[in-house]
């Protein structure tokens, strides 16, 4: 039986904290100071920060999978090398973020076990399939582009170890983004078949990227207190708008068409019999000069909640592959870490 060390790690807004210490902590946050691992912190701050870092770590190592499956098929030596290096970076980010999380009180093995038993989550966007080489380009350009936007805001946060990790990760993500941009450009300058492949991949990833930043602010329960403590520093809608402002014109410049879900007159999303979306040009996508922003159609938020609850196209496969890797490697960890994988954790 695997016992999760995470079972008692919960947010509890009724928890009583020492008022004087809480006041001092809030004052430190207001002064823009960084909180370090050994500093006093309110339990909800620690739990909130741990959950965020753990979710981020999980996302890095699950995020390695959709692209990782294309390493064997990368079409040139240069792309093959770059893709291995890229996925290697993601695993490295996972390693750094698990270390940040460990210091907040949850051992790595407990986090990996919670991930493979679906007790904890990872980023929704990685539950979508990457059926062609062009999907690799789309992921590196759009998903990494979205990640950079999100992480740049997180690098302004209040927890020192996480902030420093974000800064380092962002430098590496900038390379991934450049590589993705180069791949998209290469395919869009290529043969008709390559262009078609790229457009289809872009269609598959544009809306998941809009969802990447989380639900609309009015539905996002976490935002309030986490913004106060600067665990989060920008709202979901703000980041989403920034993403569209940056990527919509870039996509159009490259000759890509930006699409949304086909909806009926009542606004209900229409789907193919197999449940896949029917894409149609997003007529709402245009600059709104008076507001200095781009207008765009919202993604299908019902789909977002379905995927979050485990009903996405590949939730089962992604978690299954992580479980396979965890189980295949258990004997190696038993051999070199010198303790059984199910044993009670130590902090490091």
């Amino acid at each position: 039986m695997s016992v999760s060390a995470g079972d008692n790690i919960k947010l509890d807004w009724d928890r009583q904290e020492d008022e004087a210490r809480l006041e001092e902590f809030d004052a430190r946050i207001d002064r823009g100071e960084l909180i370090e691992a050994d500093d006093w912190m309110p339990e909800n701050y620690r739990v909130g920060m741990l959950r965020m870092a753990e979710h981020h770590a999980n996302s890095e190592i699950v995020g390695a999978l959709p692209e990782g499956e294309w390493i064997t098929r990368a079409p040139s030596l240069k792309r093959k090398l770059a893709l291995i290096a890229k996925v290697q970076d993601e695993v490295g980010h996972g390693q750094m973020l698990y270390r940040v999380s460990q210091d907040l009180g949850k051992p790595r093995d407990a986090m990996l076990r919670d991930l493979i038993t679906a007790k904890t989550k990872y980023h929704n966007v990685f539950n979508y399939p990457a059926p062609t080489w062009a999907d690799v380009a789309a992921i590196q350009w759009l998903v990494d582009g979205a990640a950079i936007m999100n992480q740049k805001s997180l690098a302004d946060g209040s927890y020192g170890p996480y902030v420093r990790t974000m800064k380092r990760i962002n430098m590496e993500e900038a390379f991934h983004f450049k590589s993705g941009e180069d791949m998209v450009l290469t395919l869009m300058s290529g043969t008709p078949r390559q262009k078609k492949m790229m457009q289809e991949a872009f269609d598959r990833w544009w809306n998941p990227c809009l969802m990447f930043f989380g639900p609309p602010d009015k539905e996002s329960v976490k935002t309030g207190p986490f913004m106060r403590w600067r665990i989060k520093t920008a709202t979901n809608d703000t980041l989403r708008q920034k993403f569209v402002d940056r990527f919509a014109p870039a996509a159009l410049d490259l000759g890509l068409k930006v699409k949304t879900y086909q909806r009926d007159a009542q606004g209900v999303v229409q789907r193919n019999p197999d449940g896949s979306a029917i894409w149609t040009i997003d007529e709402a996508l245009h600059p709104i000069e008076s507001e200095k922003r781009w207008g765009f159609s919202q993604p299908d938020w019902d789909e977002f909640y379905t995927v979050i609850r485990g009903g996405g196209p590949l939730n089962r496969e992604r978690v299954g592959l992580r479980r396979f890797s965890y189980e295949q490697g258990a004997w190696v960890r038993r051999a070199v870490l010198g303790r059984p994988t199910g044993a009670p954790p130590n902090r490091n």
Binding site: I84, V91, V332, R334
Partner: protein
């Protein structure tokens, strides 16, 4: 020597293909572990090994292209199966058995080290310089492989059993490393591929024994039979056909296109 004699070009291309193809295929196999390694830190290390191997392969394909024309990608991806010169051992699919992956790496790295040591004394300047640079990286790879063999063999009985099983399974494939490519004797005689003090197999076996003896693992190796015909002459395993087809899947869609 800056210019290569015409008579040596054909056998040298065969030898260079055997090195580049070994490295490409081994790098490809190691990269299967990228994202799926048993420990995050080791996942990262194996990805680094894969990158070294593939980067080395690319540099050697580049050298071949200097001799024959063409470009490195076409040489890596655009050939028919029977023109590849990699050996059975690198072709082996490890089926996500980490013990097999580590033992394969251990056997291959020591062989590669010897091959590069020879090339780093070549009288063809270009080759000598390239091989010397690669040798430094190969030495890191050897240290990594040796350490894992010893560490696993000396830990739990479970790990030891798995490593022993992998050694026993892979040892019969090791003669495939030593099969000479066509015309190799001429290159040796001419100093393009200078021999070691001892025969290649003996030198390799003693390096392997240095590590294995420390662990108490059991292993028996034999030199390839004189009439052995395998990967170095284009006769490949079934694993290779499947691997090549996967590796070139996207490339073959539009071989003339930029990707």
């Amino acid at each position: 020597m800056t210019d290569l004699a015409d008579a040596h070009k054909k056998p040298l291309v065969q030898l260079l293909f055997s090195i580049a193809d070994d490295k490409l295929v081994l790098g490809h196999r190691n990269a299967d572990w990228t994202g799926l390694g048993p420990i995050l830190e080791e996942d990262i290390a194996f990805s680094a090994l894969a990158q070294d191997d593939i980067a080395h392969a690319g540099a050697i394909y580049g050298l071949i292209a200097d001799i024959t024309g063409g470009d490195a990608d076409h040489l890596a991806y655009g050939r028919t199966a029977n023109t590849y010169r990699c050996c059975d051992l690198v072709e082996l699919n490890d089926e996500f058995d980490w013990a097999v992956a580590v033992v394969r790496q251990f056997f291959c790295d020591h062989f590669e080290h010897l091959r590069l040591r020879r090339l780093s004394r070549s009288n063809w300047t270009k080759l000598r310089q390239l091989a010397s640079r690669m040798l430094a990286e190969e030495n890191l790879a050897i240290g990594h492989a040796d350490q894992w063999i010893v560490r696993l063999a000396k830990s739990t009985s479970e790990a030891r059993g798995r490593i022993q099983h992998a050694v026993t399974k892979l040892a019969p494939l090791t003669p495939s490393l030593f099969e000479p490519t066509e015309g190799m004797a001429d290159l040796e005689a001419a100093g393009v591929y200078p021999p070691l003090e001892a025969p290649m197999f003996d030198a390799w076996e003693s390096m392997i024994a240095n590590v294995i003896d420390e662990t108490g693992l059991r292993a028996e190796f034999r030199a390839p039979a004189k009439d052995y015909v395998g990967g170095r002459h284009g006769k490949h395993s079934a694993d290779f056909a499947a691997m090549l087809s996967e590796m070139t899947e996207v490339y073959r869609e539009e071989p003339a296109a930029q990707w």
